[in-house]
């Protein structure tokens, strides 16, 4: 199991370490700066932290020594917008929302998902980035729109461990897209997703779906789970089709989802009431878990605070480590918890963090 946990918050990247005495915060990096995402690359243990500096834009930093030292590397940058373009979306990096490592067979390759919706790829560990124009220039992009932000964004990038040319991306609100050729071409991949927020005749339009977060089972990559704006969906054919899970505990609304690294039938969610009320159902924070592919769910709250509580776990703020037994989550209220037993029980790491945007075991 991992003994390091990186918590990206609105005021810094917090490094937590497990010792025989328990988990403690070892250090705060980038103190005062909003850290939007953190990735520990399992191939070389490099740590990437994306900073949203507001005034000065988004920056990316990398550490090659476990966080002892950081260097600023390149952030994805959009090319010059053609004169006379009718594209209303600004061609400017608003948020570096997610990072994903390339395959084991392509060291140095990283993928970055951004707001306003561009996908980028680096071949040199972040020293330089290229916009994936094959996706950016899709005509369908004109119909995408922001989901909670002014502009659409790519929040999930899944690289198939069996074949690194197969990449799936999740977009709010732009559906799910799939490439089989390393990003040279793309196909819409949200068949079966339903958008309750659209007029009924458009509800199954793949291009405007709002999956909040998509994750892939590492050992069974044909299974993906999605926490969507109005429901839970599962795919068993590599994102070609999705089945809606009608009942998933106290609510089907939420932002985060994690899938067991080896068991595709096991996944965890952190539900909230609904879009217009993003707080735990009845004020009781729970983590829901299915172990049978979505046929049934348990609501787990041992060690979580009793009602009334208002924690919301955002889309990158629930993670499971390679063992499948250790999970961590952080809320927008600045609380973070850890479980050593697949979410049966939780213990609080801190009640005093800034709002948590993302976590990564390392």
């Amino acid at each position: 199991m991992s003994d390091q946990l990186w918590i990206a918050t609105r005021k810094g990247l917090m490094q937590w370490t497990r010792s025989p005495a328990g988990w403690r915060q070892a250090r705060a990096h980038f103190l005062g700066d909003p850290v939007s995402h953190v990735l520990v690359d399992p191939r070389d243990a490099a740590i990437y932290a994306s900073l949203n500096l507001g005034h000065f834009g988004c920056k990316l930093h990398r550490s090659d020594d476990g966080g002892a030292h950081w260097q600023e590397v390149a952030a994805p940058a959009y090319p010059a917008k053609p004169e006379g373009s009718e594209d209303k979306t600004p061609w400017d990096l608003k948020l570096l929302w997610t990072l994903a490592p390339g395959g084991a067979d392509e060291p140095g390759v990283l993928w970055a998902g951004t707001i306003p919706g561009g996908l980028f790829r680096s071949a040199d560990r972040g020293a330089s980035w290229q916009l994936i124009e094959s996706l950016w220039h899709r005509a369908e992009r004109a119909e995408w729109f922001g989901g909670g932000y002014d502009h659409p964004g790519i929040h999930s990038i899944l690289v198939d461990p069996r074949d690194s040319r197969r990449v799936v991306v999740g977009i709010s609100c732009g559906g799910v897209w799939r490439s089989e050729d390393g990003g040279a071409s793309w196909a819409l991949s949200a068949t079966g997703m339903r958008a309750a927020f659209m007029p009924p005749e458009m509800a199954f339009n793949e291009n405007i779906q709002d999956p909040h977060r998509v994750v892939q089972c590492a050992a069974a990559p044909d299974t993906l789970w999605a926490q969507h704006h109005n429901g839970v969906f599962v795919s068993r054919d590599g994102a070609r089709s999705w089945q809606e899970i009608e009942r998933a505990g106290p609510s089907v609304f939420g932002f985060a989802v994690a899938v067991h690294p080896r068991d595709p039938q096991t996944a965890w969610f952190v539900p909230a009431v609904k879009d217009e009320c993003r707080v735990p159902v009845d004020g009781q924070l729970v983590v829901t878990r299915t172990r049978d592919g979505g046929q049934s769910f348990e609501s787990l709250s041992r060690g979580l605070p009793p009602a009334p509580g208002y924690d919301l776990v955002y889309r990158h703020a629930l993670v499971v480590d390679a063992s499948g037994r250790r999970l961590a989550m952080g809320s927008t209220s600045g609380n973070a918890w850890l479980s050593e037993d697949a979410a049966d029980t939780w213990h609080m790491l801190s009640a005093h963090l800034p709002p948590v945007s993302a976590l990564s075991f390392g």
Partner: protein, 89 residues
């Protein structure tokens, strides 16, 4: 010669001393700064080369007007200050 000074808030990210240089527009002045300090470009300008939304530039006490193309003229001896607007919490 014109003088270009940067907000102290940028010093924590990289060295940005005061620059004295010859330039007749804001864009020319900033290009020379970025030639010496390439890292600075992404902090001051967005991906389209415009001033970032929350960066303010004052030329002889007046706000720079041409935020997209940086075409504001600089007289000899102009004092250019690059600051950040105050936001956050």
């Amino acid at each position: 010669m014109v003088t270009v000074t940067f907000t102290a808030h940028l010093q924590r990210h990289f060295d940005c001393p005061r620059h004295e240089l010859q330039a007749s527009t804001l864009g020319e002045a900033l290009d020379q700064v970025f030639a010496k300090q390439p890292q600075a470009r992404g902090y001051i300008l967005d991906d389209q080369g415009a001033l970032r939304q929350h960066v303010a530039v004052f030329i002889d006490g007046q706000r720079a007007r041409d935020r997209d193309r940086l075409g504001d003229a600089l007289r000899p001896g102009a004092q250019v200050h690059v600051l950040q607007a105050l936001t956050g919490g």
